[in-house]
């Protein structure tokens, strides 16, 4: 390992990178764009859903229910149509997303101790709003029932259940608090794989790879020199995302800096390895691009970054264990939100070490073999 030759390769890569007048701006625009979108789109909490109430009962009960719904902050009552058939045009035109239908005689039936169906109509064409709205509404109805039950039990001296549901680590349930830590690892993977996957195939396509090989440069120096500038760029991107997350989106940080840094360094090796592997198996730059897309999309979907792993069907879940990003997300979210320490993270960290040895090792082996022929 000759230090001077290594530095020269780093310098050559940096020069090449800078010669492309769009690449540098994109590399810095990418985290900003991702922060904006992930912070405000994926991290958006569904509130103020436009709602209609069809109140056939017009009683104390129906007014109570309506005000509980609108006081929750999740629903904003924008229409009070007289009949249920008026709902169709409202939902079709997108003016409302949710409707509550309170049947006539609700108050009387409740007083007689009967159970009354409360209609909750949700626009099913919009998946996330629909499931969230149905959940909120059922929750509010349960709370209302619980109140009534406690009153009756209190009157007759019967037992009551004093239950609370508490959320640990992210009590406000802000989605952005889970998204931004995940974005740090995701952006590292995206930019490293996108650039690294072109690194070797480009030199081969242009014939400069052979020129490199006739110089006194060793393969190790060449490889390290190629990796260094991109690893640096990715580090800057990650630091930027972390800083904006902490300062602008006010994501809490309860863990140790060391745990996060350790996890990211290990993870970076798997990303570099993945990029290199793609670059080595492709014959043309266009192929490298296709393979990259083919790999990255499933990785992101299955990692749990945007779509929770809990909601995936049981047959899909085993596949997620093959995704290194999955473990990186566990480490990052654990460190940011839960303050988990290295012993707590032993399992995901060692899984990541295993993957980086496997993937990076395979890339190095293949690199030596490919460059030999």
């Amino acid at each position: 390992m000759n230090w001077r030759r290594y530095r020269l390769i780093v310098w050559k890569e940096t020069l090449q990178f800078r010669r492309d007048r769009l690449l540098l701006p994109i590399v810095f625009l990418m985290p900003i764009l991702q922060l904006l979108l992930f912070g405000y789109v994926v991290g958006a909490d569904v509130t103020n859903l436009p709602t209609a109430v069809v109140d056939h009962d017009r009683s104390v009960v129906s007014r109570q229910v309506t005000s509980m719904m609108s006081n929750s902050g999740y629903f904003r009552v924008v229409a009070n149509p007289a009949t249920e058939s008026d709902l169709q045009p409202l939902i079709d035109s997108g003016r409302i997303k949710v409707a509550f239908v309170i049947p006539a005689g609700t108050a009387d039936a409740l007083a007689r101790g009967q159970s009354v169906p409360l209609g909750i109509v949700v626009d099913g064409a919009d998946s996330k709003s629909a499931s969230v709205a149905a959940g909120y509404a059922s929750q509010i109805v349960s709370a209302y029932n619980q109140q009534r039950l406690a009153k009756v039990a209190g009157r007759v001296g019967g037992p009551t259940l004093n239950t609370s549901v508490r959320v640990a680590f992210n009590p406000s349930l802000k989605a952005v608090n889970a998204t931004i830590p995940g974005l740090i690892a995701t952006i590292c993977m995206l930019s490293i794989v996108a650039i690294m996957s072109q690194a070797v195939v480009r030199e081969r396509a242009r014939g400069t790879l052979e020129q490199m090989l006739v110089t006194p440069l060793t393969r190790g120096e060449y490889l390290l020199g190629k990796i260094t500038p991109y690893a640096l760029i990715a580090t800057i991107q990650m630091a930027f995302v972390a800083a904006v997350g902490r300062l602008w989106f006010r994501v809490p940080f309860n863990g140790s800096f060391f745990t996060v840094a350790l996890g990211l360094v290990i993870f970076m090796f798997t990303s570099i390895g993945l990029g290199l592997l793609i670059s080595l198996v492709s014959r043309t730059q266009a192929q490298a691009q296709q393979i990259m897309m083919f790999v990255l999309i499933p990785v992101i979907v299955l990692s749990g970054f945007m779509f929770p792993i809990e909601s995936m069907p049981a047959e899909i879940v085993p596949l997620t264990y093959l995704i290194p990003l999955r473990y990186a997300l566990v480490v990052l979210r654990g460190a940011f939100l839960k303050g988990a320490s290295i012993p707590d993270m032993a399992v995901p960290l060692s899984a990541m070490v295993g993957f980086s040895v496997l993937i990076f090792g395979a890339a190095v082996l293949m690199f030596r073999r490919r460059l030999g022929d």
Binding site: P50, L110, N145, Q146, V152, F169, L190
Partner: protein, 381 residues
């Protein structure tokens, strides 16, 4: 004009020859969208089940065991062992062994027997907000059901006549997708997103590759005009892209049983305009980008981020700040998701979706013109 058409067809034929030489590209065009469709359709869902839960039962009475059983019987929480202290709950959360904990205070059983107030808590791990939110809903309903059962049993054993407590029974009806199938929810939107990801990539590199290989200059000394070059390059991909949409639609109908309630012609017209729009975005990138690397990166950034996330396919746009809502109108995905959902799920026809289809055609025309103007500037400058 015939000369012009002839030249466009010649370029299109040349492009087809390029494509057919690289069988991997053909594979990518036909296999990639299908693989994505299967992946997204199976993996993405907003229904949560089987949340791993641990139990901290400080009371260990018949009543507390009944509560735990009620909580774990439904399949929402699954019991993953029990612990004997709060510290152990913390540890299990930190190590991701559990996402929920059911905590029952001492004296739970006695309080219920004596008509007192029994204490229980459901703790949820909020680092996965979506599951935690649903967990909250579920726990609230559970507490109500268990509470009323306890009261009924208590009055039964005492022979006391407790007036039956009426309750509201939430009946959720999901319109346009009553079976609550995630596939039907997602696939119509998914189609637009997949096509966007596949098509933008294809054209993003074509002009750059010709420039890098030096063949662009050869094309420019021919009588070919810029717009002819752009159209000729887009045409073969438009045909392939449209074929993709047909295949995806067929698979959605046959495999996922997505209902197709509206006018197929509206869908087909919209898809055609959408494919051309996405390809034109790729051409604009190709005209601007100086190298294949940067063309690549811009294509990924655009098709992934605004194309996917601002399309309204998975994330509702109403809760997004107005600035980003405005940005979403600059990408064709948003219009196509509307059209696709309208036709598949709501059974809408020309009268409702006509404007969106028209907008897509205008979009395609503007983007194509922009691409040919930009590529002229690049090659002459």
């Amino acid at each position: 004009m015939t000369g012009s058409t002839g030249r466009i067809v010649t370029i299109a034929r040349k492009e087809f020859v390029h494509i057919s030489r690289d069988w991997r590209i053909i594979g990518a065009i036909l296999v990639l969208p299908l693989a994505q469709l299967l992946l997204f359709a199976y993996a993405i869902s907003f229904d949560v089940r089987n949340v791993p839960a641990i139990v901290f039962d400080a009371d260990n009475s018949a009543a507390s065991r009944a509560y735990v059983e009620a909580a774990t019987n439904s399949g929402f929480f699954i019991a993953r062992g029990s612990v004997t202290s709060y510290a152990q709950i913390d540890q299990a959360f930190d190590r991701n062994q559990a996402r929920a904990a059911i905590v029952i205070a001492k004296g739970f059983g006695r309080a219920i027997a004596e008509g007192g107030t029994a204490q229980a808590t459901v703790l949820l791990d909020g680092s996965e907000p979506n599951s935690a939110e649903l967990g909250r809903t579920y726990a609230a309903a559970l507490n109500h059901v268990f509470g009323s059962r306890v009261l009924a049993e208590w009055s039964g054993t005492r022979g006391a006549s407790v007036p039956a407590v009426g309750s509201l029974d939430p009946r959720v009806r999901i319109w346009y997708n009553p079976g609550r199938s995630s596939a039907a929810f997602l696939i119509p939107g998914l189609m637009a997103v997949i096509i966007m990801i596949v098509t933008v990539q294809q054209t993003a590199v074509t002009l750059v590759t010709e420039r890098v290989e030096g063949t662009l200059e050869q094309l420019l000394i021919s009588p070919l005009r810029q717009i002819e070059l752009v159209l000729g390059k887009v045409l073969p991909w438009a045909i392939l892209g449209f074929l993709d949409t047909v295949v995806i639609t067929a698979v959605s109908l046959a495999v996922f049983n997505v209902p197709l309630r509206g006018d197929v012609l509206v869908l087909a017209t919209g898809m055609l305009a959408f494919v051309v729009s996405s390809l034109s975005i790729g051409m604009v990138i190709s005209a601007v980008a100086p190298s294949i690397e940067s063309a690549n990166l811009i294509a990924i950034v655009i098709s992934f981020l605004p194309g996917f996330m601002l399309s309204g396919m998975a994330f509702p746009l109403e809760s997004v700040p107005p600035f980003l809502q405005a940005v979403s109108y600059l990408f064709p995905g948003r219009y196509m998701v509307d059209i696709s959902r309208g036709v598949f799920l709501r059974g809408a026809g020309w009268s409702i979706l006509g404007p969106q289809v028209l907008e897509l055609f205008v979009y395609a025309a503007v983007a194509l013109t922009l691409a040919s103007l930009l590529s002229r500037r690049r090659t002459h400058g």
